[in-house]
């Protein structure tokens, strides 16, 4: 069993026009840079992208947005992207904004076979519009549905040829949960090891969730807000 794919381009080649694609990362941290570039270069259109943010004007998902490849974005915060604003304002881009915990849990529910669950987040706000509410133990909750995708593009730190993954610091973010929620999960890693190369107790994404694995290269890892203190 070897899930290794030779290149990011080969790994994403069968993503069709109109596909729903989850992309891991929080801002530009923990982005699957090689896979995003490959999907951009593949030139597919009418994509629905499920990702916490929309990149920046010149980085990450923002590049696909600028190229007009994205029909709809499902996100929680898109404040770092002027192109996004423009396209959303003009109606060219459809957007759905969700509370971040609801977004994360809907994705987790998809991976975990739970078609719906109840959450207190967003009760009494615009998020609740059109959604069923229900009281449990004297408190009102919203019912939320699972959120699935055709493909998930995730970034891990290390992986093995079976598809086991580990992550580094806050670059973990949405990657492990998206890895569980797509029909096909494609992972890119900074280091690719033989099975047994990762500590079995420390594996975060078990191999069952990963269908293809690519060794990434040339990571740029842009920092959005470089903040430092005096020594």
């Amino acid at each position: 069993m070897d899930k290794t794919v030779a290149s990011a381009a080969a790994a994403v080649a069968d993503i069709p026009n109109g596909a729903t694609v989850m992309i891991g990362g929080f801002g530009l941290c923990g982005n699957p840079e090689n896979l995003i570039t490959a999907l951009f270069e593949l030139g597919r259109r009418n994509l629905t992208i499920i990702s916490n943010n929309a990149g920046t004007d010149h980085e990450g998902i923002g590049v696909m947005l600028a190229a007009g490849q994205i029909k709809k974005m499902i996100s929680t915060y898109v404040g770092e992207n002027a192109i996004f604003e423009e396209k959303a304002r003009s109606g060219e881009l459809e957007t759905e904004l969700l509370p971040q915990g609801t977004f994360a849990e809907r994705i987790r529910a998809a991976g975990a076979g739970i078609p719906a669950f109840f959450t207190p987040a967003g009760v009494g706000t615009v998020v609740a519009e059109g959604k069923e509410t229900r009281e449990f133990d004297g408190r009102v909750y919203l019912m939320e549905r699972w959120l699935k995708a055709d493909f998930a593009l995730v970034k891990a730190f290390r992986g093995d040829r079976w598809g086991n993954l580990t992550y580094r610091k806050t670059a973990r973010n949405f990657n492990p949960v998206m890895a569980t929620a797509a029909h096909v999960t494609i992972a890119e890693v900074e280091e690719l090891l033989p099975p047994g190369g990762l500590d079995a107790d420390s594996i975060v994404t078990p191999a069952i969730y990963v269908h293809r694995i690519v060794l990434g290269a040339g990571y740029r890892k842009p920092i959005e807000r470089r903040t430092v203190r005096k020594g």
Partner: protein, 221 residues
């Protein structure tokens, strides 16, 4: 007072609410400043909703790590005891009520505890991020904000006008003018900054304030 003086006063006052062993989520902007004023001798663990418990200070110049940021996308550092987890686990932690205290900025707070802080009027909607989850489920929600808008309009209102972030969620408001509790009876001013009178505070507030019988001067003023 300069804006910066107001912000420091508010952050310092909220920092006095921290207790040893508290797990706290500080929102982006003014709330982040609270971390600078943690009282001596107590250990507080900061949660960042992008998947980190035990957020350390900004890194030393040259030690920035692109894989290590807070929810404001700022580079931070780790501490002995830090742990990392994914976003679903992070919001399970938040939604499950394990965060003792969340501090967040506010645009409007109503006398029933409603909060509006995610849509800036006249600007495109950027999204609520984790705010709706945090306000709905933190055990204690503190709002750290200037008492009025830049145009001098009250932000503590009868009813919020902006789209809500949460309904009846605010426990405490701290501004440069005072320290306020949201109670079933209305908003009680418990502490007043020494440079304001109750009349001045009420004049800057749309909601009718209840003056606590134990009204005290606000520490740090």
């Amino acid at each position: 007072m300069t804006e910066q003086e107001k912000r420091i006063r508010i952050a310092r006052r909220i920092a006095l609410e921290l207790r040893d062993g508290h797990f706290v989520n500080l929102g982006i902007g003014l709330p982040t400043l609270v971390a600078n004023y943690v009282p001596e001798g107590i250990e507080v663990v900061l949660q960042s909703e992008n998947g980190m418990l035990g957020v350390g200070p900004y890194p030393l110049e040259g030690e920035e790590d692109a894989d290590l940021i807070n929810a404001g996308k700022e580079t931070v550092s780790e501490l002995p005891g830090t742990s990392y987890f994914d976003s679903a686990s992070s919001f399970a932690m938040i939604r499950g009520g394990h965060i003792e205290m969340a501090v967040m900025g506010g645009m409007e707070v109503a006398e029933n505890g409603d909060l509006a802080n995610w849509i800036v009027p006249g600007k495109i909607i950027k999204g609520m991020g984790g705010a709706m989850d945090l306000v709905a489920t933190a055990r204690q929600l503190y709002i750290a904000m200037e008492h009025t808008t830049r145009a001098g309009k009250p932000k503590i209102l009868h009813r919020c006008n902006l789209p809500l972030t949460g309904v009846g969620v605010v426990d405490t408001i701290v501004t440069e003018m005072g320290f306020f509790r949201v109670t079933p009876q209305g908003i009680v001013i418990e502490e007043i900054a020494r440079d304001f009178t109750p009349e001045q505070v009420q004049a800057a507030t749309e909601a009718m304030l209840i003056v606590s019988p134990q009204l005290r001067p606000m520490p740090g003023t």
